[in-house]
């Protein structure tokens, strides 16, 4: 039998020690009428057979085309050392670091992760990861409500936030006496005028994404000031690569930052595992959910890393905890830490700039094509929306025949967007690929 080391003699010896004749006696306390009525599971296979089956199955997915598909999930470089190091079984087969003495590796890496996330986002505190960008946004909103002592019942979310995150936010908040108001974008940016009229003392927080889902970058300083005037919180979501050049959440005086870490060394993986980033100003740390690592001393005064402020968490506080989260996406946070260390201070900025430059080049070239208009009025970072003289579906299908995943159809996510497509570039796209892409687009529209 796979993965059980018991010989006949072992089993005999163990049964004798226990005082039973057969291991099945150990299940005698389970009455017959409760026993499984069926257990029709296929027979086991050798690992060779299982692998071959999966190889065949994986060939039934098409990942071969040159991709301009983004929308929160991007085809970035993953340095080889990220796989090599996070693939060390001392990391990936370890348990949650509750026993600090036996987990200094994981704990120190998480401390370093926290430092990098704080430095990137300009926030003062962060946890050791959430599930993904959407659940991080939902938890950020719940934090804002707690910080507002439950008296502020409104969360305003900008429709420029990733629509998938907004759906998750709505699900999380549906069971509470709260109102989620979606503020619709005006063209490709936040409707600041309407928003300013909505901000009052009933608002717990306003969540926005910068660059937003259309790739547009805006200045939110006026909004954030208005929020702070009524003691409401600013929740900023972003795509972390953009933090390489764009103003951080700290610099715009946001109170909570959330985002998805996929672009920091995670595979696309059909959507997961990635991880969520959640960070905040230090004064809100006791409202932050999830694990937090801190530095302390051991008995001999040596530097030691431990999980800290655990009185916020479910295993101590049960129904009074800040969240029910237990398992997080630790291994993914480790990958991000390795990714960011390999790129470093200079490299990370360069990477961000290259994404910006390639996207600007593509935008410039596409803007020259008859039948295509650039939808964004605001400056953009690594992606933008094109407006076509044919339907988005036709465009995507025809480009696929030419060897491209040409972008994201927006019609399912935004009303009236039947002929608009979100097009993204990363540092992985070469000039030749971009030029080819533009040539093929010309043949279609």
């Amino acid at each position: 039998m796979p993965y059980t080391p018991h010989t006949k003699d072992d089993v005999q010896k163990m049964c004798t020690q226990i005082g039973i004749k057969d291991e099945t006696e150990l299940f005698d306390s389970i009455p017959n009428e409760l026993r499984a009525k069926s257990f029709d599971i296929p027979e086991g296979l050798s690992e060779f057979e299982v692998f071959e089956n999966f190889k065949e199955l994986s060939n039934q997915n098409d990942t071969s085309k040159v991709s301009f598909l983004g929308g929160g999930y991007y085809d970035h470089i993953i340095p080889t050392a990220v796989d090599a190091l996070s693939g060390r079984s001392e990391f990936y087969t370890a348990y949650t670091p509750y026993q600090a003495e036996a987990s200094q590796g994981t704990l120190q890496a998480l401390y370093e992760y926290q430092t990098m996330i704080c430095n990137l986002t300009g926030m003062e505190a962060t946890n050791a990861s959430m599930y993904d960008g959407g659940t991080a946004l939902a938890e950020a909103a719940l934090m804002a409500v707690r910080i507002g002592r439950g008296k502020r019942k409104k969360i305003i979310v900008d429709s420029g936030v990733n629509p998938i995150y907004i759906k998750i936010l709505k699900t999380y908040l549906a069971y509470h006496d709260l109102e989620v108001i979606v503020l619709h974008v005006k063209s490709d940016g936040s409707d600041k005028e309407t928003l300013l009229g909505m901000i009052d003392e009933t608002v717990a927080g306003y969540a926005f994404q910068n660059p937003n889902f259309f790739g547009s970058i805006e200045d939110y300083s006026e909004i954030i000031e208005a929020l702070h005037n009524v003691k409401a919180l600013a929740i900023m979501s972003s795509y972390p690569i953009a933090l390489g050049i764009l103003k951080s959440a700290g610099e715009v005086d946001a109170d909570i930052y959330c985002g998805d870490g996929q672009s920091l060394g995670m595979y696309l993986g059909f959507g997961g595992p990635s991880f969520g980033i959640l960070a905040c100003k230090e004064k809100y740390i006791r409202n932050l959910p999830g694990r937090i690592v801190g530095i302390t001393d051991d008995r001999e005064g040596k530097r030691a890393y431990v999980l800290t402020l655990q009185a916020r968490e479910q295993h101590i506080r049960r129904d009074k905890a800040t969240s029910n989260i237990c398992s997080n996406q630790n291994l993914m946070a480790l990958r991000a830490t390795i990714f960011l260390s390999l790129l470093g201070k200079e490299g990370f900025e360069k990477l961000a700039l290259q994404n910006y430059n390639k996207s600007e080049y593509l935008k410039k070239e596409l803007s020259k094509v008859d039948g295509i208009k650039i939808y964004n009025q605001n400056p953009t970072f690594n992606e933008f929306v094109i407006e076509l003289n044919i339907s988005a579906t036709e465009f995507i299908d025809k480009m696929e025949e030419k060897g491209f995943f040409a972008g994201l159809k927006l019609e399912k996510l935004f009303e009236g967007f039947e002929n608009r497509v979100l097009v993204s570039t990363t540092e992985k796209r070469t000039k030749k690929q971009i030029d080819n892409f533009v040539t093929c687009v010309k043949e279609i529209v």
Partner: protein, 483 residues
């Protein structure tokens, strides 16, 4: 002293090269949109980074190097083939927005794998259908209780409470609170099962759900489980099965057959996906007839004419709780494990897990307090209460003693209902030699407590650090490196 990456950083040192920039710089963005200075990331060579993290990895216990008898955590061996499959480019490189673009034909293999996994899970548990989207056990619990909420809302039931036993995992009451229910905690009887009389008293029309872990966190099977289900249902309360301990009973019982309405499984426990030092996990949720219409977004379906496809859920769905299909590459690893074991392998895994736990109980029950001396399921609970009273040696001291022998500590101080509890779950993948060694060290610890209790205070001595000052960590908070 273990220096951080930031202390090892040198101005001007470079790590990996990124693809060469062949294009001219685009016009710069307005400075009001740009950050004032580069983010303070460390400056290191690739080799610096490799050595740093390799050294860190050496400061971890892990299942590949150490025995982890952590009760309720099911730290079993993670077969290597899982990683090989999980690394196939045809799986790792699938863009999830192929779903948004409505392109099922590009992801037939992925959808097929999800469909097969769902079939395995429904057959294993006797439930009607599964959502694979929750990303961890607690996330699954929340999904399940949200569906409970949606069910009662649709029926117009006015429900305020979720019942949990006092032996439950902390995530159960915390989950109930996330869905805005108040928690009623029912105490256990002396056999370690939920006290049926107290349960009956707690039941009312205002109870939305009863959350049970089966076998419970004491490693015991509650034979009154069917009666509890029937009572709950008579009030239109739904029965929630916390599958954290599923490893004990694969092929023996199925929650669906007993009458549970909703269940979550921890794939990183029973189905051997790596814990990753705290995640990622995966917490699929199975439902019976009553909750089918409330399942979250997204589901996979199959039609002969068009193959596998994804469906938008019914109008009564609770909505989205994860982007796309949750931790897909974790789900794949679990399926690899299930296909390798097959029917007989799963039955055998549970039997050997229970055998190992009982072997440990029988060897240790006369050396420690054993609140429940009869047979256990996949884990057993001992107590250091007498050792604490007579020698001042606590459960945590025993835990620290073991670390010096390369044995990870069992779960201590949980379940909360046993004083100085030591909860041991060996899993089926450990051999008798390792288990004998562990038992001998546990017995040695008792002897040491009797002869030299003082010795425990300085343990462990062979690990990268000795016992950390947790109070100081919380009082003078240092959670990020600052020069």
């Amino acid at each position: 002293m273990s220096l951080t990456l930031f202390e090892k950083s040198h101005n001007g040192r470079h790590g990996i090269n990124i693809p060469k920039q062949v294009l001219d710089n685009a016009p710069a963005l307005d400075s009001s949109l740009l950050r004032a200075a580069k983010a303070e990331l460390p400056e290191l060579s690739e080799f610096d980074v490799v050595r740093h993290f390799t050294k860190l990895s050496n400061k971890n216990f892990s299942i590949d190097s150490n025995f982890y008898p952590l009760g309720s955590c099911t730290m079993k061996y993670n077969p290597k083939v899982q990683e090989r499959v999980g690394g196939l480019a045809g799986l790792t490189d699938i863009h999830p927005h192929q779903i948004t673009n409505d392109k099922p034909e590009l992801v037939q293999g992925a959808l097929k794998s999800l469909s097969i996994l769902e079939n395995y899970l429904t057959e294993l548990t006797g439930m009607k259908a599964f959502t694979l989207t929750p990303q961890a056990g607690a996330h699954g619990e929340m999904t399940g209780i949200m569906m409970v909420g949606a069910y009662h809302k649709k029926k117009g039931n006015s429900k305020r409470y979720v019942i949990v036993p006092d032996s439950s995992h902390g995530t159960n009451p915390a989950t109930a609170a996330m869905v805005d229910y108040d928690v009623i905690t029912v105490k256990s009887n002396k056999d370690g099962s939920m006290d049926i009389e107290s349960f009956k008293e707690a039941m009312s029309d205002e109870v939305a759900a009863v959350m049970m872990t089966v076998p419970n966190t004491l490693g015991l099977f509650n034979p009154a489980i069917k009666e509890i289900c029937d009572i709950a249902h008579s009030y239109d309360a739904l029965m929630y099965y916390d599958g954290a301990n599923m490893n004990a009973i694969m092929g023996v019982i199925r929650p669906g057959d007993i009458g549970f309405d909703v269940i979550h499984l921890n794939l990183h426990k029973t189905f051997a996906t790596p814990h990753g030092g705290g995640g990622p996990g995966a917490g699929p949720v199975g439902v019976g007839e009553k909750l089918l219409e409330f399942l979250p977004d997204l589901r996979v379906d199959f039609a002969p004419e068009k193959g596998y496809f994804f469906t938008d859920t019914s109008e009564n769905s609770i909505g989205k709780i994860s982007p796309f299909f949750g931790n897909y590459l974790v789900l794949v690893r679990a399926l690899v494990y299930m296909q390798t074991l097959g029917r007989e392998g799963m039955i055998n895994a549970s039997r050997k897990a229970v055998l190992n736990a009982n072997y440990i109980l029988s060897k240790l029950k006369n050396h420690f307090d054993a609140p429940f001396k009869n047979y256990c399921m996949h884990e057993c609970v001992l107590s250091a209460e007498t050792l604490t009273k007579e020698h001042g040696v606590k459960a945590m001291d025993i835990a620290k003693y073991l670390l010096d022998f390369g044995l990870h500590a069992p779960t201590v101080y949980f379940p909360l209902i046993v004083k100085e509890s030591i909860m041991i779950e060996p899993t089926e993948t450990e051999n008798i030699d390792t288990i004998d060694f562990f038992c001998q060290k546990m017995i040695d610890a008792v002897e040491l407590a009797k002869s030299n209790a003082e010795a425990f205070k300085t343990l462990p001595t062979t690990l990268p650090i000795s016992r950390p000052d947790e109070t100081k960590a919380a009082r003078s908070l240092n959670i990020r490196w600052q020069d």
